[in-house]
Chain length 252, copies 2
Amino acid sequence: MSAFQYLLVYNSISFTFAAMAAATIFLWFGRSEVAPPYRTALVISGLVTAIAAYHYFRIFQSWEAAFLFENGVVSNTGYAFNDAYRYVDWLLTVPLLLIELVLVMRLSRDETVSKATRLGVAAALMVILGYPGEIADSNGTRALWGFLSTIPFAYIVYELFSGLSRAIETQPPQVRSLLKQARLLTFASWGFYPIVYMAPFAGLDGPTANTTIQIGYTVADLVAKVGLGILIYIIAIRKSEIEMTKTTPVQA
Amino acid sequence: MSAFQYLLVYNSISFTFAAMAAATIFLWFGRSEVAPPYRTALVISGLVTAIAAYHYFRIFQSWEAAFLFENGVVSNTGYAFNDAYRYVDWLLTVPLLLIELVLVMRLSRDETVSKATRLGVAAALMVILGYPGEIADSNGTRALWGFLSTIPFAYIVYELFSGLSRAIETQPPQVRSLLKQARLLTFASWGFYPIVYMAPFAGLDGPTANTTIQIGYTVADLVAKVGLGILIYIIAIRKSEIEMTKTTPVQA
């Protein structure tokens, strides 16, 4: 691994830890700026970035332990870089990301529970099925598990663009386009993970494949977690304002 | 590197960590002292100093790892001092600094979004374009990237002194001069970075250039982040008082 590759990953991981921790504090402070029904959505958005901050801290330590960077030369220490931190993170955060999207819509209790459960289970399944492929040595095994993981992913996309569409139409007109942006951001950033997953198929191997995977997943995590968190915050603020104006007609 | 140079940087970095962490706590406690529309400005001011505190902690660790100070003699350990922490920090904090300045003005929603977006993007571009020059070996490459980075900087200065001037005139008279001070402080402290950046052109090299750059950036960070944060706090307090007096005419 070149010094450039080593430092690019090193600094990106440190940057992402700082960004996730900052987003967490922002989202949790935002809790008291929104109406009570939207507070849980902000708590969960902040939990997602907090869990990610913890894992990026661990990934940073693991990266430092795996390589020795001395006199401008990078060498392996013999300790393996622990890639599982990312999957452990996603197992917790990916279902929560879908739940924060459902919660900010403030549907009926039954709808919230049913949508959150179905999307959450599918998301967990998607992460679990991807992992055996990530650690596989052969590209064939990687492709097989990658394909299996795509089945729950396709179900989530179907739910987002079909089931959730009807729910979006019941939302106040001022936030519909924001909700569609949040859905698109979820879809686009999640669609980025399988592309990174397939980096070894593009003929990349060794340090170059590893660097591409690390940077790719890091960028996708930033968009999917911090980006979605900020959108959820804006939607919660807008909906709180709309509902407050409605209940106090004097201001209208 | 002389023992004096080593210790000067070492203690300045430790000082700055403490100052950033203290400013963070001050700004976040201040949140409950101001009217609700100004809380986000204080949260973000505190986020800027919190992110900086994290990076000064890392810079401190990196400085300790890079040099051995034993029996009064400083020697290199072979581990490189990681200069990228500063750029990673600025990539997050410099856009946020401009956003806190826009937020405390409490403009219309559209104006806030458009000004925050344009200034934020220009600030990120300025930092990204500066980095290749910072790590370049030749002064020519340093000058080239430094010049490119000056283009978004010039745009920010133009926005601050033209677009923001009109906005400042809509502010209550009691805070106009404070807002102009905040703008001047931003301009003056940011103007300090390119001067430090060009230290190698003044014929400085090796440890002397390194010490000058470290101390220069540290002082600039303190003024730009802690200094601006305190000004934003004072402006938020004054504006909260003015608006409270307006809505409760009994006190007027």
